[in-house]
Symmetry: C2
Subunit: 198 residues, 2 copies
């Protein structure tokens, strides 16, 4: 990992750290829970609960971007529920109602980083948390990415993007900067596709 790149990353992480938690008794607005009973083919009935995110099932697209210079682009954002309070990840985001996973991938990559891809390669799909969600996620590699526009973030969304070598992104996994399963699995599964291109 180049020293100046690691310094740049640490600057973003520091900027987005949580310095204070203000506890509230406010009702949730984004997350929502349903509880139902399910009759099984073995004759038993079981109660189970389901988490909804923003009234959707919470499915997401995850994107490994590769630029025309064979760099990748990571995002740094507040993850207030984690010990670190800030994580480095692959760009990703929720699939909107009636949106195709590949369209969500292109939209989220562009919104979070301003990079626009030439072509997407599907890597894999999987349940995120099958015990309490229907969320089914999709991983892609975005080839031929170019920085074409500014970020387009939601209110209360603070994201820094970070361009580095693909091998440096793999190093950031080993160094413990990238530690969510969506990013780790996508990086792991994409190795075979990326190696042949570099």
């Amino acid at each position: 990992m180049r020293k100046e790149k690691l310094e740049e990353l640490k600057k973003y992480i520091n900027e987005l750290k949580t310095i204070e938690v203000i506890k509230t008794n406010e009702n949730p607005k984004f997350l929502n829970i349903e509880r139902n009973y399910y009759k099984l083919n073995n004759g038993k009935s079981v109660p189970r609960e389901k988490l909804l995110k923003n009234k959707t099932d919470g499915s997401a697209s995850i994107i490994l971007p590769l630029t025309v210079d064979n760099n990748t682009v990571l995002v740094v954002q507040p993850r207030v529920n984690t010990k670190e309070t800030v994580l480095v990840e692959l760009p990703a985001g929720y699939i909107e109602h009636d949106e195709k996973p590949i369209s969500a991938a292109i939209r989220e990559l562009t919104e979070e980083t301003g990079y626009v891809p030439e072509k997407l390669q599907f890597i894999d799909s999987y349940y995120q948390d099958q015990g309490c969600m229907s969320a089914y996620n999709y991983s892609y590699i975005a080839f031929g990415c170019r920085k074409k526009q500014a970020q387009n973030l939601d209110i209360n969304e603070y994201i820094r993007y970070f361009e580095c070598k693909y091998e440096e992104a793999l190093e950031l996994v080993e160094l413990g900067y990238i530690k969510d399963i969506n990013s780790k699995y996508t990086l792991e599964k994409s190795r075979q596709y990326v190696k042949s291109k570099l």
Copy 2:
């Protein structure tokens, strides 16, 4: 995949399918949501929500069992929120309050399957869903497993276990029977450890 093993698996899947959903307005008992504000180092305050599972952060241990005969052991259980309503997975379960991840791994493997391991090998750890949870999961390989006791399941828990060759478990990923990210990532990352033992 041996034909008779696939037939055995299909029998378990059929037995645990959801045949009817009985909708309720009951309050959730297992899942719980908190909403707070977080002051960031950049001067901004953001609202964020956090999902709790059974009053814990929802961290889990995931286990790839290898028997003394170099087979593996999978579990089949109702996953009522998925399209399939039943999934095939690696044994896994929530880490209890004050429990070590490796102890949870041994306990859950034994409860779900009745197999007892000789030795556990840590594979990796990762955030499950960092946007709305603190859940941090741990993956292990359990070497030298032997069927020593009966299953010990919770009320409303219906799990079938299924012994097959390690290579057949990898095939079940390709065939679309295993499709949750915890099982897929653990199987993927464990290849290097398992290959040298088989």
